[in-house]
C-alpha cells in the first residue's frame, strides 16, 4: 500500500514538474506521428492498404521509440548529471518505484500519439483496424521494453552528451534502417540481423499483430521477447540504481 502511494506521488510529482512540457511533448508527438503518416505516403504513390497499414502501425510504434528510447534516457541522464537523481535516491522511496514512475511518464506522453496516429491513419488511408484482445498487453510491453532499455542506457552511460548522441543514432536507425517503418524483407541481410536484436522490431510487430491482419507477424514471439527486454533492462537498471559507488 505504501509502495503504491509512493508510486502515485512520484508520478504526480513528475507530472507537475513537467506540467507545461508534458502537453507540449504530447502535442509534438501527435504532430510528428501524423506528419509521418501523411509525409511517408507522398513517397509511395497509389499506396496499397497493406502498405498503409504497415506505415500507420510503424508510425504508432515510433511514438513509443521517441519517448522511451530518446527522450526518457536524455532526461534521466540529465537528472543524473545535475544531482536530481541522487536527491531522489536520498529519499525513503523505492528505487524501482522511481524508475517505474519515469516509465509511466513515457506511457502518459506517448499514448495520445499512438491513439491519434491509428485513428488518423484509418481515416486518411481509409483503413479498418480490428483490435485484438492482446492489444492492451502489447501497449504495456511496448512501453516497458522500450522505456526499460532507455532507462538502462541512462543508468550505464556516464556522459549525457554520449546518451544524446546514442539516442540520435537510435532514432535514425529506427526511421530508416529497421522493420518499424520498412518491411524486413526489403532490408539487407546485415540490417535484418541487427533488427532481431532491437526491441522496436518486436514492438512494431506486436502492434501490427494486434491491430491488423498483415501476414508475417508473430504475436507470441513478440510478447516473449518484449517481456524479456523489459525484464532484463529493468533488472539491469535496478541493479545500477541500487549500486553505491
Amino acid at each position: 500500500m505504501k509502495a503504491i502511494r509512493q508510486y502515485y506521488d512520484l508520478v504526480a510529482m513528475q507530472m507537475n514538474s513537467m506540467r507545461g512540457d508534458n502537453v507540449f511533448i504530447a502535442i509534438l508527438q501527435v504532430a510528428l506521428s501524423l506528419g509521418l503518416v501523411v509525409g511517408m505516403g507522398y513517397l509511395i504513390p497509389n499506396i496499397s492498404k497493406p502498405t498503409a497499414m504497415f506505415l500507420v502501425t510503424g508510425t504508432a510504434t515510433q511514438a513509443f521509440v521517441t519517448t522511451g528510447l530518446v527522450m526518457l534516457p536524455q532526461m534521466l541522464s540529465q537528472a543524473k548529471a545535475d544531482g536530481r537523481l541522487e536527491y531522489f535516491l536520498t529519499l525513503p522511496i523505492s528505487r524501482e518505484g522511481y524508475l517505474l514512475s519515469q516509465i509511466t511518464m513515457v506511457a502518459i506522453t506517448s499514448f495520445p500519439a499512438v491513439f491519434f496516429t491509428v485513428i488518423f491513419g484509418a481515416w486518411h488511408y481509409d483503413l479498418s483496424f480490428s483490435v485484438n484482445p492482446g492489444f492492451a498487453l502489447v501497449m504495456v510491453l511496448c512501453v516497458l521494453s522500450l522505456a526499460g532499455v532507455g532507462v538502462a542506457m541512462a543508468m550505464y552511460i556516464r556522459e549525457p552528451t554520449v546518451v544524446n548522441a546514442v539516442t540520435q543514432l537510435i532514432i535514425f536507425y529506427v526511421l530508416f534502417f529497421s522493420p518499424v517503418l520498412l518491411p524486413a524483407a526489403q532490408l539487407p541481410p546485415a540490417l535484418q540481423f541487427t533488427s532481431k536484436l532491437a526491441p522496436p522490431t518486436y514492438a512494431a510487430d506486436g502492434v501490427r499483430a494486434t491491430l491488423t491482419d498483415l501476414p508475417g507477424t508473430n504475436l507470441g514471439k513478440d510478447l516473449v521477447l518484449m517481456s524479456g527486454f523489459a525484464a532484463g533492462s529493468i533488472a539491469l537498471s535496478a541493479f545500477a540504481i541500487r549500486r553505491r559507488g
Binding site: 506521488d9 510529482m13 514538474s17 506540467r19 507545461g20 545535475d82 541522487e86 559507488g245
Partner: protein, 314 residues
C-alpha cells in the same frame, strides 16, 4: 543548541576510508561523532572530501572501509535506515522545472511518509515560517536561486528527522531570509535535531555551530568548538579596515583578504600597528578600522591555507 555532551552519539563515523575506483583517496581515516542536538560544521576547501563523506552518510556511496552508525544502527549495511532518518539539502541547484515551491515541500513530506493532511499542514507552516508566501505558486524553474534554496531547505525539514544534513544552506539567499534559515536551524537544534552542516560561510555559521571539523586532503585536520580552535591563532589579532587611499600595509600585517582590508597580526605587534593606523588616519587614508579576536575564517586559514603555503615554500 541543546548540546548533550554525555549522551550516546547520534551519528558516529569511525576510521572511514573512501577510495574511488580511479584510485583517488577522498576520505582517509575520518572519525567523528555527533551528539544529540548538536550542530556540527564541516569545513574545508573544494576537494577536501566533504561531499564524499556526506554521500556515504546518506547511503548513496559505499565506504571502502570504516563504519558509520546512526543511533547505533549500521548505515553501511542498512542504507535504507539512513534515507528514513536523514533530511538532506544538497548543494546543487537542480532543476525541478515546473514544480511549484509549495508542491516541492508537500511532495517531500509525502514521500517521507507524511499523510496527505499532515503534508499539507507542514507545507503551509514552512511557507509561513520561511516567508515564502509570495513564491508558493512560483515554479522552481522560474524561481530565483535563493527561493529555490529556501524551498529545498523547507523540503529537507518537511518531516521530523533524526539527523539533518545541510550542504551550504544559505547560498544565494538574501540576508534577511538567511537569518531566518539560521534561526530555524538553531530552533531545530533546540528541539533536539542533530545537524551536520557543510558550509563555506564561516562568519555566519560561527554563531550556530557547536563543534566543527576542518577537512583537507580527505582528512580531518582540526576538530573542536569554535572557541577551542581559536587557540590555533591566539597569538594573533584580526584587523578590519576601510582605506580611502593607497597605503602600503605595515610589514607586520599578514593579508587575510587584502581586497576587503582584512589582515592578521601578532599580538606583540599591537603597538606598532596602532601607531601605523593612527598615522594613516591622520594622513586621511583610513576611514575606519576594527581590531578583534580571530574569526573562524582565520582558524580555517591557519588550519588549511597556511600549512599549504609552508608546504609549497619548502
Amino acid at each position: 543548541m541543546a548540546l548533550n555532551a554525555g549522551a550516546e552519539p547520534v551519528l558516529e563515523i569511525e576510521n572511514l576510508v573512501k577510495r574511488y575506483r580511479n584510485g583517488t583517496l577522498a576520505n582517509d581515516g575520518i572519525s567523528l561523532a555527533l551528539r544529540p542536538g548538536e550542530t556540527y560544521g564541516l569545513l574545508g576547501p573544494n576537494g577536501a572530501g566533504k561531499t564524499t563523506l556526506v554521500r556515504q552518510v546518506l547511503g548513496v556511496l559505499r565506504p571502502t572501509s570504516g563504519s558509520i552508525t546512526l543511533d547505533g544502527r549500521d548505515l553501511i549495511s542498512d542504507p535504507g535506515f539512513a534515507r528514513q532518518s536523514i533530511g538532506f539539502l544538497p548543494q546543487g541547484q537542480f532543476d525541478l522545472q515546473s514544480l511549484r515551491v509549495a508542491e516541492l515541500i508537500e511532495y517531500a513530506a509525502r514521500l517521507r511518509g507524511a499523510s496527505r493532511a499532515d503534508a499539507a499542514r507542514r507545507r503551509d507552516d514552512l511557507v509561513a515560517m520561511l516567508d515564502l508566501g509570495e513564491f508558493r505558486n512560483t515554479s522552481m524553474h522560474s524561481a530565483s536561486g535563493g527561493v529555490r534554496r529556501l524551498a529545498g531547505f523547507a523540503a529537507a525539514i518537511a518531516t521530523p528527522c533524526r539527523l539533518l544534513v545541510l550542504d551550504e544552506p544559505t547560498n544565494d539567499i538574501d540576508p534577511i531570509r538567511r537569518q531566518v534559515v539560521w534561526n530555524t536551524i538553531a530552533e531545530l537544534g533546540r528541539q533536539g535535531a542533530t545537524v551536520l552542516l557543510v558550509t563555506h560561510n564561516l562568519a555566519e555559521a560561527e554563531r550556530f555551530i557547536d563543534r566543527l571539523a576542518i577537512m583537507d586532503g580527505g582528512r580531518i585536520v582540526r576538530e573542536g568548538t569554535p572557541a577551542s580552535l581559536r587557540t590555533l591563532v591566539t597569538e594573533r589579532l584580526r584587523l578590519e579596515m576601510t582605506l580611502t587611499g593607497a597605503v602600503t600595509p605595515h610589514p607586520a600585517l599578514l593579508a587575510e583578504n587584502a581586497d576587503e582590508g582584512i589582515y592578521l597580526f601578532e599580538q606583540r605587534d599591537l603597538m606598532a600597528i596602532s601607531g601605523w593606523l593612527n598615522a594613516a588616519r591622520e594622513a586621511g587614508l583610513l576611514a575606519d578600522f576594527r581590531i578583534g579576536p580571530p574569526s573562524l575564517d582565520d582558524i580555517y586559514t591557519a588550519a588549511v591555507a597556511r600549512p599549504r603555503e609552508l608546504e609549497a615554500a619548502s
